[in-house]
């Protein structure tokens, strides 16, 4: 085996990735299969259906400024403001939130 060749080792029955790298057991333990693949970068993940590395799905982030303006209580007040004031409020809130402005979709709205 070429030392610079990248291998994926996966379970034959499930397609589940067991290991990856340039140095592979010879012989492989029963039930494992070897596949030559391009060395994946950090943006790739194993897909056990296609038996290949595929791009990772983009993570979905939610803007806490939107959380604020969509809150039922705040929204009723918010909509009474002139458009330019709404935008100014959004901008000020974005500055105040700083690096806590965005959250994952499965995270709580509240700042912990």
């Amino acid at each position: 085996m070429a030392q610079d060749q990248w291998y994926a080792v996966y379970e034959a029955a499930t397609g589940r990735l067991v290991s990856e790298g340039t140095v592979v057991a010879n012989p492989l333990p029963p039930g494992l299969v070897l596949k030559i693949v391009p060395k994946p970068d950090d943006s790739a993940m194993w897909n056990q259906s296609s038996l290949d590395f595929v791009p990772r799905p983009a993570i979905v982030m939610v803007d806490r400024v939107v959380d604020f303006s969509e809150d039922p209580t705040i929204k009723s007040i918010f909509l009474k403001l002139p458009l330019e004031d709404r935008q100014a409020l959004r901008s000020a809130l974005a500055v105040l939130l700083g690096r806590r402005r965005f959250r994952f979709a499965d995270q709580a709205k509240e700042l912990g």
Binding site: V18, S19, E20, G21, I59, R100
Partner: protein, 273 residues
């Protein structure tokens, strides 16, 4: 007074800045992922040290948001004795470890860093507390070698805990063949500052070819939080294990977070000889 064998240590700090109550600033400079200039922790080590307690944290003036690799060097040159230590996250990260590498008396101790963060306030703060040689100290090692550091993104080798949650995923190769015999290993974890969930992790370090790895250090626990994506604690070890030259090292993980593009952790291993 009794004089137990384990006592009698002498410790001298290097790198403190009394005027600002902090350690020495390592400025990664304005070029991403390129080592910045060396900064002196101390101009002259006061004694032969058997090792040192290394502390690093983000600059309180501007919490570091990025991934960092930093070096510690001694003497003129300097000679790097701690290569590419991984640290990083999105908040006030910090780490501490005893580094069993000797420091000769009389020489300078310096540090330098690189980062994905090129902001003027994205500095690291480091300090070394030197431990003087004495008969109770363990014999220090002569070299510390890094495996898996990724200079291009100031990180490490990505390890994916995969799915399902709380189940060990695939081994990621950290190095195909160690370059010398090692008698201890250390692991450093990083978050690449991409954001993390509140999650728990367990990491295994293994030796052997893909498909036949043997766990030599198992279930090293760390956590991440939504506020600071630096895995905590970011450093663990040294673990006094024997790894022959030419060994393949790999790491695998499991996590309570199964969301891709968020669960992945950077890993660098360090071998002591």
């Amino acid at each position: 007074m009794d004089w137990p064998i384990a006592g009698g240590g002498v410790y001298i700090s290097a790198g403190e800045v009394l005027a600002s109550s902090e350690g020495t600033t390592l400025d990664p400079g304005g070029i991403a992922n390129t080592k910045g200039a060396w900064a002196n922790l101390v101009a002259s080590a006061p004694f032969n040290a058997a090792g040192f307690i290394l502390t690093v944290h983000a600059d309180s003036l501007g919490p570091g948001i990025g991934s960092y690799l930093f070096d510690i060097g001694v003497g003129s040159g300097p000679t790097i004795i701690v290569p590419n230590m991984l640290i990083g996250g999105t908040g006030d990260f910090s780490a501490v470890a005893f580094i069993p590498i000797p420091v000769p008396a009389g020489g300078a101790i310096q540090g330098r860093a690189q980062s994905t963060n090129t902001a003027a306030d994205g500095n690291l703060i480091v300090q070394a507390i030197l431990v003087r040689e004495n008969f109770t100290m363990p014999q220090p090692f002569g070299a510390m070698i890094d495996y898996g550091a990724a200079l291009a993104d100031s990180g490490g080798t990505q390890v994916d805990p995969g799915t399902p949650a709380n189940t060990k995923a695939a081994w990621s190769q950290i190095v195909a063949a160690t370059v010398r015999d090692h008698n201890a290993l250390m692991i450093a974890l990083g978050g690449q500052a991409l954001g993390k969930a509140a999650a728990d992790y367990l990491f295994d370090i293994g030796v052997g070819p893909a498909g036949a790895e043997t766990v030599i250090i198992g279930n090293i626990n760390a956590i991440t939080s939504a506020a600071d994506d630096s895995p905590n604690p970011p450093w663990r070890g040294p673990f006094y294990v024997s790894v022959p030259s030419g060994s393949r090292l790999a790491v695998r993980a499991q996590s309570s977070d199964a969301t891709s593009s968020r669960r992945e952790i950077d890993v660098v291993l360090y071998g002591f000889s």
